[in-house]
């Protein structure tokens, strides 16, 4: 499964600790023993990663539901 994401509005967000901007990186997300790769905004320096609202309640929720029925 590879949810392709709409253009993510990550404009303006910075890592508070490193003061560096966020870049999109491919990350492996896991739930109920299953995992899949998704592009997420992440700090270029310390790799702290964000899961934005529209993603959590859009595609991710769909995938969570799918995996729950697995």
């Amino acid at each position: 499964m590879d949810p392709t994401l709409p253009d993510m509005d990550i404009e303006g967000w910075f890592c508070q600790k490193c003061n560096s901007p966020l870049t999109m990186v491919k990350v492996n997300v896991t739930y109920m023993g299953a995992s899949f790769a998704v592009d997420l905004p992440s700090c270029a320096n310390c790799h702290t990663t964000m899961i934005p609202d529209f993603l959590a309640f859009g595609k991710m929720l769909e995938v969570e539901k799918l995996l729950e029925d697995k």
């Binding site: 404009e11 303006g12 967000w13 910075f14 890592c15 508070q16 600790k17 966020l22 990350v27 492996n28 997300v29 896991t30 739930y31 109920m32 998704v38 997420l40 992440s42 700090c43 790799h47 702290t48 990663t49 964000m50 899961i51 609202d53 959590a56 309640f57 991710m60 929720l61 995938v63 969570e64 729950e68 029925d69 697995k70």
Partner: protein, 781 residues
């Protein structure tokens, strides 16, 4: 979860049993389906249905005399459906589908006589690749020749040429002698004697009277390889003849495969169906009398077909929103649920069926066969939990609520003020405390004043854990109650909530309990009569508790003597949707339950379970709790319309209840929980969104508390917002906020997810044992 559990439910649900018209048809024509096709104007489909069970329908169909009619459920009401004429209507307005040629077999069969049974036999056998020689002992067609006026012209000739066109042949029989029969048996595997043909002379063939008695199901004679059609002195000779031909084909199928002809032949005769149909609402409709007594016009046929009751068992469906919602019936559900649950891999689409049952037992009570769905669903859920297939999201909030109710600082037990022992403990239950804290306190004081020696215990009994199929958690929570009980001289528990009563009965049978409603019935406080009309609702957990139901009636009649009853009450009461945590797993369906139940009754409802009362109100029906009539915490019209508290409010109220009661009744110095040194402002629209997303105020507070110490994770340079995150349980929460000049946290957005990812707070936090872990540590504060 075993196959026997499935079979137990499957066996009881008779939904798939045939209707009477079919069970009493000698050929078991699926009349109900056929009629529904006529209603829908699909005569071709009706013909296919007819052909499936009626061999050589183009002949047989004209000769049926409708033995089913007196068994049709319309029979006692007005008149049985006129199936013979409907069948003729189908025959005249459709064509049969050409049989598909089968590879030829080496089996040769002969018939003596050429009446209906022989033609049917030949027709059916040739469609399986066998060849039949039909020996004419007289004119072709036998007894059929005397009824040609009952069918359109040329019908008999047409049928005979159809039979020969399929590879069978007609031959003139020589003189009927024992030698002739011996020769036939020599040349053929089987000989069929069509006694319905008046020119057949079995005695001349050398068959003895004993040899002429056929087994009613196989049609076999005691003489080897000889099969018989009945002689024609029976009630409906032609349909019986067709049935005999059909049964013989069934015997030969087995014989040719080396199986005993008598194996697996149940229900080939007519039988009494076990299908139960509720006809109490059926309105009599005059049967359609055709202008031409021999034929229906299309309108007449449709009219007559429309009278069919389409007999099915809808009894449990008519009372259960869950069964209706998924358009099924217990037998079908049982199979789906069973397959779903035992499959380790693949998609578990039937999870939702298992999770949306309210485990209320109403279906069992209305079912003519007491089919038990609740028991099956409970087993299925437990199995899902034990095999790690229970979706975490389904019940998590209910279980969180349970644990927080029992967490130190919220749950508590106290001996009666100023005493060091107690005879009884009042246990109001987690929901009453959260919804009616002052009423609960007043009730306690009244009990202790009147009965003396009554302690108080606030918490959750563990019913949600049981509903969700979690036996370990159920045991842990029940164990905590048992500990208090045994450390305090094994007092009797007075239970306000009928679900607690049910839970104690099964999970804590050693504890002596009384229902608050039985207790109060004996000591009803004096209250002015309430003049408004009220309708009593029995919570579904009280279904089998007549004592509790009686107590509740005694109480309400002392305050509101003119109260009325619901149509569904007592043993037949309906669930509000909270039972079995159905409303947690499937909120929309939960609302369907609430509306369905609350609609029954013409005045505001009074329940003696606070969850029912709160849910009825949430569904738009003002309602009261029975204690509102005795120990009201406001005026009745306000109480009646008070909204159901949300999850965050429930938590706060339980906390408050403890603080208030310990201060005022026990005169304890209670330290208020440490105040957070800042204010959090959640705008109403965000609060509403949180309830939808099932995010608690406490979750937001926890994220901000974390951010207050460690700072947010991200900052936005465009709008100055901060973003912080925390994963306190199997959910990661995000809060987007700003801090104003007064140091207040203004919340702009809140969201959450269950997934984990590297770099996102909570990575590695997923542990299936978390919930059980909470139980041991007393929950999250």
């Amino acid at each position: 979860m075993h196959k026997v559990d499935l079979l137990a439910l499957e066996d009881r649900c008779t939904y798939e049993e045939p209707p009477a018209c079919q069970s009493f048809c000698p050929l078991h024509v699926e009349a109900r389906t056929m009629i529904q096709h006529i209603v829908a104007g699909k005569v071709g489909e009706a013909r296919k249905t007819l052909d499936r069970h009626m061999p050589l329908a183009q002949l047989t169909g004209w000769l049926c005399e409708g033995a089913c009619r007196e068994h049709c459920l319309r029979h006692g009401l007005d008149a049985g459906i006129n199936l013979p004429l409907l069948e003729r209507y189908i025959l005249q307005n459709s064509r049969s589908v050409k049989p598909f040629p089968m590879p030829a077999s080496a089996n040769r069969i002969a018939t003596v006589g050429t009446s209906l049974a022989a033609l049917v036999l030949a027709f059916d056998l040739s469609r399986k690749g066998h060849k039949v020689t039909l020996y004419e002992t007289g004119p072709r067609g036998g007894a059929l020749l005397s009824v040609v006026d009952r069918m359109p012209e040329g019908q008999l000739e047409g049928a005979c040429s159809l039979v020969s066109g399929l590879g069978n042949s007609f031959e003139e029989a020589p003189a009927q002698t024992p030698d002739f029969l011996a020769k036939l048996l020599d040349e053929n595997r089987v000989v069929f004697i069509d006694q319905g043909d008046p020119t057949v002379n079995p005695r001349a063939l050398g068959l003895s009277p004993e040899e002429l008695i056929a087994d009613p199901v196989t049609r076999g004679s005691v003489k080897d390889r000889v099969f018989l059609a009945p002689a024609s002195e029976i009630a409906n000779p032609f349909l019986e003849a067709a049935a005999a031909g059909k049964k013989t084909v069934g015997s030969l199928d087995r014989l040719f495969q080396g199986v005993q002809p008598g194996i697996a032949r149940e229900r080939e005769e007519v039988f009494q169906t076990t299908l139960v149909v509720d006809t109490s609402d059926a309105i009599p409709i005059e049967p359609v009398i055709p202008a031409d007594p021999l034929e229906f016009t299309p309108e007449e046929a449709k009219g007559e077909a429309a009278r069919c009751l389409n007999c099915t068992c809808q009894i449990c469906l008519s009372v259960c929103p869950h069964l209706r919602h998924y358009k099924g019936y217990p037998k079908k559900y049982a199979r789906e649920m069973y397959n779903n649950v035992i499959t380790a891999y693949g998609i578990h689409t039937a999870n939702i069926l298992v999770l949306s049952c309210a485990e209320c037992n109403l279906c069992k009570e209305v079912c003519p066969n007491q089919a038990e769905v609740t028991f099956f669903v409970q087993k299925a859920r437990k199995f899902m939990v034990d095999t790690n297939h229970m979706p975490a999201a389904a019940h998590e909030y209910a279980l969180e609520d349970l644990l927080s109710s029992n967490a130190p600082g919220t749950g508590f037990f106290r001996l009666p003020p100023g005493e060091n022992a107690c005879q009884k403990i009042f246990y109001p239950g987690c929901q009453l405390v959260a919804s009616r804290p002052q009423t609960t306190a007043q009730t306690y004081e009244y009990l202790n004043k009147t009965l003396k020696g009554v302690g108080l215990m606030s918490g959750c009994c563990g019913a949600p854990a049981k509903w969700s199929g979690r036996s370990v958690l159920t045991g842990t929570v029940a164990g905590e109650i048992k500990k208090v009980w045994s450390e305090n001289g094994q007092p009797t528990f007075i239970l306000a909530c009928p679900s607690c009563s049910l839970f104690f009965k099964t999970e804590l049978p050693e504890i002596n309990t009384e229902s608050l409603w039985e207790v109060l019935a004996g000591i009803v406080p004096d209250r002015p009569t309430v003049s408004m009309a009220l309708t009593l609702h029995d919570p579904c957990a009280s279904r089998y508790e007549e004592g509790i139901q009686k107590g509740a009636r005694k109480i309400i009649s002392s305050v509101a003597p003119s109260f009325s009853e619901q149509k569904y009450s007592g043993r037949l009461t309906k669930c509000c949707g909270y039972g079995g945590l159905a409303a947690h797993a499937q909120p929309e369906l939960g609302m369907e339950y609430s509306i369905d139940t609350a609609q029954d009754g013409d005045a505001p409802l009074v329940s003696y379970c606070i969850v029912c009362r709160d849910r009825f109100k949430a569904a738009g029906f003002p309602s009261l709790h029975l204690l509102d009539l005795l120990f009201p915490e406001g005026d009745l019209s306000e109480l009646m319309n008070r909204p159901m508290p949300n999850l965050s409010e429930k938590r706060d109220r339980r906390l408050d209840f403890r603080q208030q009661v310990l201060k005022s009744i026990w005169q304890e110095e209670v330290t208020d929980p440490p105040k957070i040194p800042y204010e959090i402002v959640i705008p109403p629209e965000i609060y509403e969104l949180m309830e939808k997303r099932r995010i608690l105020k406490g979750d937001v507070e926890a994220v901000i508390a974390e951010a207050a110490v460690h700072g947010p994770l991200f900052l936005n340079r465009n709008n100055g917002h901060s973003l912080a995150s925390l994963r306190p349980r199997q959910v990661t929460f995000w809060v987007e906020y700003t801090i104003d000049e007064d140091g207040r946290y203004l919340v702009h957005q809140v969201w959450c997810h269950r997934m984990v990812a590297p770099g996102v707070p909570g990575e590695g936090a997923e542990s299936p044992a978390t919930l059980e872990g909470y139980a041991r540590t007393g929950g999250r504060v």
